[in-house]
Symmetry: C2
């Protein structure tokens, strides 16, 4: 059993060797909580949820750290007032931490709907200001960073001159980078345009600020992940994940910070999830080709014919490999719903079979071969769509068992049943949809009440009493009054 | 409209005057996340949820801060290894922040079940280490604290000598306090036994630690609330709440820290919730008179005859005033369930009335008087039980309206309807219980299927077709096979 992971650093699938046998340290860049989580983020976090679940299923003990970026995410190094939180809070006249709370709560609620497990640690950027100040000081002391007007910048040029290689993750050539960058406002306090902020001076108007050896300010975005991953997973850990859009500059900066701080490349396996598109087009608010996760679930949107249960959406997402572009569309969602229903019908069948009935059977279908195939899918860079294809082979087998056109023996049956439950519920994280059929109950009871009234009219009291008593036995009490017959449901 | 709040500081009900007209700053001491939240905590947080909801209902804009204590809650100042997190994490072989995450997630899930609103800011102790170090330094600089062996203590004696009054909140006499305290291990580094830790030296084994001007350590528990309330609500704010057990020493220390740091008493109104008992006895794991919130909801316990829906528990809790002892018992819970069902029946009636039918009525019952009474209950120190008593008067009225034994006019009806909905759902935070009647639907359908089979046997095809077709109309399809008749529910 050898797990292979596609490593963005090498561009190849590599055999996974954890630093400590049996234990995995995994860090995933979490959301910036200044707005509602968008669909592409949900896709990324769901992919890593599947990866986390798979690692646990394969027997690893996983410390899974996913952070909350609640401070200092600058859209533009050069302009202090661009700190997204401050902008938003001025708009809504809220304290920045109120924004943070509002969107953190939303984030958790949305992910819970899609049945994502919480990470084992969920640290916040504001919870690690001290650690970020200390790392900044360390980088200054070792010549990798410099102070300028109360801000501190990472010195990319000096990093490269020391024989380290800025650009190794994203395969960028540093000279090219320098050539392609135009000068931005306020960047004159940097030695080179590629230098990135570790600490930013806060203007008097900037309300999210902390004291530091360089005066009041706030940390740069890239540093928080280095601070938190080092604290909870160590200077070198197994897996670092995130969306493809974070590869450069964010993850590139993390590599540089790690190597500069600790003298070692921080991550053994870099994993990046691909984009999500809708109807073949990039999602974008400006073009209108955009949908919020909640609107897909409630059905309040112009792109899908109806509401889709979160577990259907999850099943749909799982049908694309994490490194492929995932395109969502009405047709694909409807097809996923059909597939889900068929899969869950098979789950009902297999979970309600009388195991004893397989006692004297001989196997005409190899569960062991099937098991090997399913494991191979998981071990081959977490290939969920291939796993699902194998699940549908098993579905065929399960219906054949039901129809009596195929036999397997008892131990094979039990293995199949156990694996199917693990794959569907634990690994893929699907859920049963609990339908609320109150309306259908009401309608069915109206049919019986009408029949009873008909029977009473035609003096068939045997039938009318029978209906009344049979319902009463099941805890449904009929009450006759001038206005008609109503019912009470007793527990 | 004058809101009165019982202020623990004065021991009297006082007219509430917010510092800024129309805006309330409220801080409530949150949970220590090293174990599952217990019932008494739920009562406290639910009480403040009701208070928060009431303030919003009365038109205030509320900034409601409830913290998470995830560091430095020492059970015993003198023994470093007693830091509860470290103890627990060694036990479970987890990183302290994994414990924090596990129980923070549990805490949020439990409170969500009981329909508590999230606070507007939910800061953590570990998220404010820098602020705590700065406050500690400030207290040293101003002579209110001293360093001793790498730890820093608040100097209670010096505080009192400066004419300030340690003990003012809990009405304790400082000399008495000194006399009653025996020397504890390691407390010899304190000048006086009443001095409390602001910062504690971390032993090499202590894994939850931060660097400080006094060496590696961790903050004392009392300081975090001063740091966070000052940061988000200011040096002086309106309301500070918590359980009665926190009044001394925790809140007493907060008063002292606030006055020493900022030269002003930090809080205008101190509010304390009373205890929760079960069957008249204090809850305690050691005596066995103990139940977890979740066990009450699932029914898995030895004290209650069945499971109670969280909203029934909430309704039960609301029937005691927050300053009274709340005793939970099977009888009380059953009674609350009955009351809840009657209240919700009335809500269904009032929300389904045709408003037009009140058009030409004259009012025989004063909604305005009733409104005054309900508001008076809320304004009198948030008296939920009195409010509920008034709601049941309205319930009587609603049933009388239904029976036609009482009349009110249309505008009165609309006022009553609007207020009832606000009080029940927004202010008390009750929820409709959505029953899942799938089992009853199945049983009812079996009755119809049996009747149809009977009809077919006796060649009454008119009846058998009628049953089949009537069900089909409602989206219930009968399928006959050799094994019998099954049904499919179409949407």
């Amino acid at each position: 059993m050898q797990l292979k992971i596609y490593n963005s650093l090498s561009g190849e699938k590599e055999i996974f060797q954890p630093i400590v046998e049996g234990i995995v340290g995994m860090y995933v860049c979490g959301p910036t909580v200044y707005s509602n989580v968008h669909m592409g983020n949900v896709r990324t976090f769901m992919s890593f949820d599947f990866i986390y679940r798979t690692l646990v299923f394969l027997g690893y003990k996983v410390r899974y750290v996913r952070n909350i970026t609640d401070a200092g995410h600058l859209t533009d190094d050069g302009n202090i007032d661009n700190d997204r939180f401050v902008k938003q809070s001025r708009l809504e006249k809220l304290e920045p931490m109120e924004i943070v709370q509002k969107y953190t709560v939303d984030f958790h609620q949305v992910l819970e709907k899609f049945n994502l497990l919480p990470p084992t640690i969920e640290p916040t950027a504001t919870g690690h200001i001290l650690e970020q100040i200390e790392l900044t000081q360390k980088l200054i002391d070792s010549g990798f960073a410099y102070e300028s007007n109360g801000s501190v910048y990472f010195d990319v040029f000096s990093y490269n001159q020391k024989g380290l290689n800025y650009g190794e993750l994203s395969n960028r050539n540093i000279e090219e980078l320098f050539a392609n960058t135009r000068d931005l406002d306020g960047q004159n306090e940097k030695k080179n345009p590629q230098d990135f902020a570790l600490w930013k001076l806060a203007s008097p108007a900037h309300i999210m600020r902390w004291n530091s050896p360089w005066g009041p300010g706030f940390p740069g975005w890239h540093l928080e992940c280095t601070a938190m991953s080092t604290k909870y997973l160590g200077e070198k850990f197994d897996i670092h994940g995130g969306g493809l859009d974070l590869k450069f500059p964010h993850h590139e900066c993390e590599v540089a910070q790690g190597k500069a701080c600790n003298g070692t490349s921080p991550v053994n396996y870099w994993m990046h999830t691909n984009m999500l598109t809708m109807n073949g087009q990039r999602m974008s608010k400006s073009t209108g080709n955009y949908i919020n996760p909640i609107d897909l679930i409630t059905g309040e949107n112009n792109f899908f014919e109806k509401a889709f249960h979160p577990t259907i959406v999850r099943f749909n997402f799982m049908q694309a490999h994490y490194r492929s572009v995932l395109d969502i569309s009405n047709d694909a969602m409807v097809a996923s719903e059909k597939g889900y229903i068929r899969l869950m019908e098979a789950m009902k069948v297999i979970n309600n079979f009388d195991t004893q009935s397989f006692k004297n059977n001989e196997s005409q279908w190899s569960v062991k071969d099937w098991k090997t195939n399913t494991y191979n899918a998981l071990l081959d860079d977490f290939n969920a769509p291939i796993l699902i294809a194998h699940l549908f082979e098993a579905v065929k087998t399960i219906f054949a068992l039901k129809d009596g056109t195929l036999q397997i023996n008892q131990s094979d049956f039990e293995l199949l049943k156990s694996l199917m439950n693990s794959f569907v519920y634990e690994v893929l994280g699907l859920q049963d949809i609990e339908e609320n059929n109150n309306e259908k109950l009401d309608q069915t009871l109206q049919i019986l009440i009408d029949m009873r009234n008909q029977a009473r009219k035609s003096k068939n009291f045997e039938l009318s009493d029978q209906i009344r008593n049979q319902l009463l036995e099941k805890g449904i009490e009929l009450k006759d009054s001038r206005e008609g017959t109503t019912y009470v449901l007793n527990s």
